[in-house]
């Protein structure tokens, strides 16, 4: 499967056959594609056709697709004795060259299908057309004002569209027979009950002349022409070793002629067992196929407009896409370069910013102090410790004062009826001795000290002659 060649929403597909031009317009809609036949006229004088074609293009925003007839191209299945697809791609042109009736340099060749077969081989479908035929075809189209972006292979287009519109009903051979006034296109393949994308295109053949079939379908005068066509079909089926059970699908302008198809079906019955069907709207089948492949891509992609024949729009698109990718890559590279160059500077600037802030703060905290790089915190901490004693009295004024503690102790002693023999405190230590009526009252004296976080121990002394409970209180700052 592959995508479209150009991103477009509208495609004008041209089916140029002997003496006539049919154009279909296809547009991408929410659900699939919307097809409409917009032109169907005889080409006797190119000028009026060109004018009508120009009118179709007037709306703009569309791409043209056309087909190279089967008889101006050839398809070959090739097998490269290599397991690697990449290596096989290099030798396939040489293998094709051997099978071509002309030099490979004189033609345009494509490989729409390459796949390892699983037996150490790579299988490929080659499609080739002489450059001169392609140029002639493009000139014919250009004479009508048509410049196709896609020049598809008629047989591959018919095959993929047939599978799209009539998915395989079961395994077996399928023949898509497109009846045109000037030729009968036969496309063969195997469906084998697989998905449409997996069905195998076998080959495409163009049977000419067929004008006699149209002129006298059902008449005895047409019998030789019919027999000739039936004979060719027999040869083709035998060459492909096609089984006797074949799904035969009519399409092309001739498919609408019931007498013609019935006559041919009658004669084909002698060749084997056929299940005959017709595609819907057969006259515009090829233009639908071409437009669908141009807008949506799909299996068996093919566009002969490559190399020197490439459409300028496609070339411009490819150049634009290539430059876009290059610009994106360069932009990403520039961003990475910028980041790579700027990031260390950003980090260094951040480091310098923090260092500067550190030095500034250190300078404010310890003015005039020499600050060795990296030792700012240590130096400032030392300087603040050195001067802490000078500030201590100021801070102590805001702490709970020792005077208040002493007041509270004296008040507690008085309230509890305690007699204090001695009381002393200095710095962090406290001692007291005294006596009370009972132990519970003595215990009350520890309250004010403990309330200030001092860890004090009250020890009971032996009772004296006064029958009071004597105590000793000792303590200091809690560890």
């Amino acid at each position: 499967m592959s995508g479209p060649i150009l991103p477009a929403r509208v495609c004008l597909a041209a089916d140029l056959f002997a003496g006539g031009l049919r154009v279909g317009r296809s547009e991408c809609a929410r659900r699939g594609l919307r097809h409409e036949a917009v032109l169907d006229l005889a080409v006797e004088d190119p000028a009026p056709v060109k004018a009508k074609v120009a009118k179709l293009e007037a709306r703009g925003g569309c791409v043209w697709a056309a087909a190279l007839p089967i008889h101006e191209s050839l398809t070959r299945w090739l097998k490269a004795p290599l397991a690697s697809e990449a290596k096989a791609r290099r030798v396939l042109p040489s293998l094709l060259d051997i099978q071509l009736p002309f030099s490979i340099e004189e033609c345009v060749h494509l490989f729409p299908w390459i796949r390892p077969s699983g037996r150490g081989e790579v299988e490929a479908l080659a499609v080739a057309a002489r450059t001169s035929d392609l140029r002639r075809r493009l000139e014919s189209l250009a004479a009508l004002g048509i410049s196709p972006v896609v020049l598809d292979h008629e047989g591959l287009a018919l095959w993929s569209q047939s599978l799209r519109e009539e998915p395989p009903r079961g395994g077996g051979w399928r023949v898509v027979a497109a009846l045109y006034p000037d030729h009968l296109a036969l496309v063969l393949g195997q469906t084998d009950g697989r998905e449409p994308g997996e069905s195998r295109f076998a080959g495409a053949h163009s049977l000419r002349p067929v004008e006699a079939l149209w002129q006298g379908a059902g008449n005895a005068s047409a019998e030789p022409a019919v027999q000739r066509v039936i004979g060719r079909v027999r040869q083709i089926l035998q060459a492909q070793a096609a089984s006797s059970s074949i799904e035969w699908l009519w399409t092309g302008p001739g498919a609408a002629d019931a007498a013609l198809t019935e006559d041919l079906q009658h004669h084909l019955g002698a060749l084997g067992s056929f299940a005959f069907h017709s595609h819907a709207r057969p006259e515009s089948f090829l233009v639908r196929a071409l437009a669908t492949r141009a807008l949506r891509g799909g299996a068996w992609p093919c566009n002969f407009r490559i190399g020197s024949l490439a459409h300028p729009t496609v070339e411009r698109h490819l150049v634009r896409r290539s430059r876009g990718a290059s610009a994106a890559l360069a932009a990403a590279g520039l961003v990475l370069c910028g980041l790579g160059l700027a990031w260390p500077s950003v980090l260094e600037a951040r480091k310098n910013g923090v260092q500067s802030e550190l030095e500034s703060l250190a300078g404010r905290l310890a003015p005039g102090l020499r600050l060795p790089y990296g030792q700012e915190l240590r130096s400032v901490r030392q300087a603040l410790q050195d001067r802490a004693a000078l500030y201590r009295p100021f801070l102590d004024a805001f702490e709970p004062s020792a005077a208040e503690l002493l007041l509270e102790v004296l008040q507690t002693a008085r309230a509890a009826g305690l007699t204090l023999d001695s009381l002393g405190f200095s710095g962090d230590s406290v001692t007291a001795r005294g006596a009370g009526a009972d132990w519970d009252r003595c215990e009350q004296l520890a309250g004010p000290f403990r309330a200030r976080g001092l860890r004090v121990v009250l020890e009971r002394q032996d009772a004296g002659l006064d029958e009071k409970v004597h105590f000793t209180l000792k303590g200091g700052n809690a560890p």
Partner: protein, 162 residues
């Protein structure tokens, strides 16, 4: 097409250069980031030191804002409260404090004195907030044998002065 190939090559070269520079920058990031983290940690600690320093400055400013930078005269105060103790106050050694202030130290000895009267003295030492207070630094109380609730009291005090 050759021109396109040159453009693509140049773009790819620029991209590769960018990758190399970005990789080099990434490789250099961690050591510098570690230095920055260490400095930020130092800065954080420095800010907590600054907060402590600010408290010190505010405390000094509080004293600077007082109407009178001298504490209440201790001898006068003791004489008023305890008229019977003419030499109860002994001055100690002065010590320097921040911003030109001086720490005045003194000792008040009262013997004998009722412990209840000590409360009055302590309240007077706190002052009225218009001048630096006398702060109690240590205290020794010893009851006399004559009676409960009185005895010898020695109070160590200090005050800031400028």
């Amino acid at each position: 097409m050759k021109r396109e190939a040159v453009i693509r090559g140049a773009a790819a070269g620029l991209f590769v250069l960018g990758i190399l520079l970005a990789a080099r920058a990434a490789w250099q990031t961690e050591p510098v980031a570690a230095q920055i983290r260490a400095k930020l940690a130092d800065l954080e600690q420095m800010r907590s030191l600054q907060a402590g320093s600010a408290r010190e400055e505010q405390a000094v400013a509080f004293f600077e804002g007082m109407a009178d930078h001298r504490p209440a005269p201790l001898r006068e105060l003791a004489g008023r409260l305890f008229p019977g103790f003419p030499s109860a106050v002994q001055t100690g050694e002065d010590r320097p404090a921040a911003s030109g202030w001086t720490i005045r130290a003194a000792e008040i000895s009262l013997d004998p004195v009722s412990f209840a009267d000590i409360s009055r003295l302590l309240l007077e030492l706190r002052g009225d907030g218009t001048r630096p207070p006398w702060q109690l630094t240590d205290c020794q109380i010893k009851a006399s044998e004559q009676g409960a609730g009185q005895g010898r009291v020695v109070l160590g005090v200090q005050a800031l002065e400028k």
